[in-house]
Symmetry: C2
Subunit: 330 residues, 2 copies
């Protein structure tokens, strides 16, 4: 793993989760001693990022198995914690296949999911970096780094790999409102890694592309439908529209667990909405007048026509469509 900080640590009988809500200024671990506790940490976004959520949920099942609690109940509380991230369902489905179902076999599978995710990210990093020409400038959104995954990262993993290969002339990252995952987490990972980067307001991305040639927008995914339409952090779709207008290429980086071939297209992806308070308050301080209503979707869908390449650990899909996705994933 590229970063020295471990966001998800299995510790004998419980899960330690780095509380990403208070980063980068506090390094605090939550001790989760039940599946419900893990589900709460996922819902409250102490752990976030589609792959990391899947890994944490897998360990959540192990905790309840160790305690002798009901498997189906643990599975349900975890499945309900975030609706959009398909990795969560994917990890739960994979854990459900473990036979015989014991705490030990479940723990082995959770550790395998965790380790595989890191291996997949390193593979995707190499595949994605191979698409990037030397001297390129890239823009990323939200946090898709070691904090969001089993290590290295998806979109940020590609940036790490491309940086290691000396290919990047510039890295920009959005602050990613309302949760500021870009300002708090991606900026922190980039600084830890010694990758020079500049933070921008989400609304500044289109202007940036106009005044400075940006070669690639590189993002992660929370769910990819069978035709390539991609749900990702709110703001991604706006970046894709701006990229199209400026000849900037658009890359989605996600492990195969993010693909949902049963979901025909983006319109079928459920989009989680969260409370108005995420927009009207900041760290408990009001920033909008009391009672102001808000529309606060957490994700949006980027249609496949705006995506130049989807990078997964199995390979690269250029100009994605149903046939290409099935060919790679089946």
């Amino acid at each position: 793993m590229s970063s020295a900080v471990q966001p998800i640590i299995w510790d004998k009988d419980h899960l330690s989760l780095l509380d990403q809500r208070v980063l980068p200024h506090e390094l605090t671990y939550l001790q989760c001693r039940s599946a419900a506790g893990v589900a709460h940490a996922i819902h409250a976004m102490a752990v976030r990022g589609a792959p990391a959520i899947g890994i944490a949920a897998a360990y959540g099942l192990v905790i309840d198995a160790l305690q002798g609690r009901d498997y189906a109940a643990a599975e349900k509380v975890l499945a309900d914690s975030r609706p959009t991230a398909v990795n969560l369902r994917w990890a739960l489905a994979r854990m459900a296949q473990v036979q015989p179902r014991t705490a030990d076999t479940l723990l082995a599978e959770a550790k395998t999911i965790h380790a595989e995710d890191l291996a997949q990210n390193l593979k995707m990093g190499a595949l994605g970096a191979a698409l990037i020409a030397p001297g390129s400038r890239v823009l990323t959104h939200c946090n898709t780094g070691a904090l969001a995954t089993g290590g290295h990262g998806t979109a940020l993993g590609v940036i790490r790999s491309a940086h290691a290969e000396g290919k990047l002339a510039g890295v920009y990252n959005t602050e990613t409102r309302p949760w500021l995952q870009g300002a708090r987490l991606t900026a922190w990972e980039l600084m830890q890694e010694g990758i020079p980067a500049q933070l921008i307001a989400d609304g500044a991305a289109a202007h940036l592309m106009k005044v400075q040639k940006i070669d690639w927008v590189i993002v992660g995914a929370d769910r990819i439908a069978a035709n390539g339409d991609t749900a990702n952090k709110i703001g991604t779709y706006a970046l894709a529209l701006a990229a199209k207008a400026h000849g900037t290429k658009f890359m989605v980086v996600a492990p195969s667990g993010t693909f949902d071939l049963e979901c025909p297209n983006g319109e079928a992806i459920p989009i989680e909405s969260r409370t108005a308070a995420e927009l009207t308050e900041f760290k408990g301080q009001p920033i909008a007048p009391t009672g102001m209503a808000a529309f606060n979707p957490v994700f949006d869908v980027t249609p496949r026509a705006l995506i130049d390449a989807i990078v997964c650990e199995r390979g690269v899909i250029v100009q994605p469509d149903v046939a290409k996705l099935r060919a790679l994933l089946d």
Copy 2:
């Protein structure tokens, strides 16, 4: 004026400016007793919004004239306070023409500029509202209301007028990072006015347009070049690109003092950049890791091809170009 709160008050020998940095939670007035004090308030964004800056600068000249200070020096300190807003230069140029130049004649001219701005806004409100079909949904950006002008507002003035005519089925406003003028100021004005509205993150606008038909994006302007290219708050250009992709019309609302016919196009408009701290800190608390670099342009330029209508007090320019602008303004 539609709002009971007066953001710019001339008080015998000095200027009281509502400190918009602490709204909506504190109503505090700054007492400006010199042109330099007004310039500082403009630079520090205690007063903001292109028309309001012009009005405040005009009064700033009056203060120094009353004190017997040098006119040229006062003019220079005010001109240097914000580079992009052309209303500032326009107001200073208009004040420079006052003959004979006495404190009384300057005060009369400043009061005229102030009153004319309100009258222009009411006119633009009616002209803009006439473009809006009953049952429309609109989205606005930043704050262009009574706080940003001599009263009523430009883009928000059109929304006020359209609301008064019962035409609006929905109003959305962006929070407008990094200064949150939308969350703090526009939301406040909309609530004071009893106009139901929903706050969104800047990055959510494109998604909003996809899931909910938005009829118009309505924005103000800091400078409009001779061909119709429009500089406005960072994020405006991204909204214009998203609007084009969704068949949403795009309206710019600005008084004639915002037009700069000597500026041929958007590329010739200087774009103010501000400090990284506006993105890396919030109310003095760090939100990004210490030392993180940022790209923080305050404005962007929306090319005329993305603008369906420019509304000014002299009339409406549909699909703006050089000839139409000259015809209306000369």
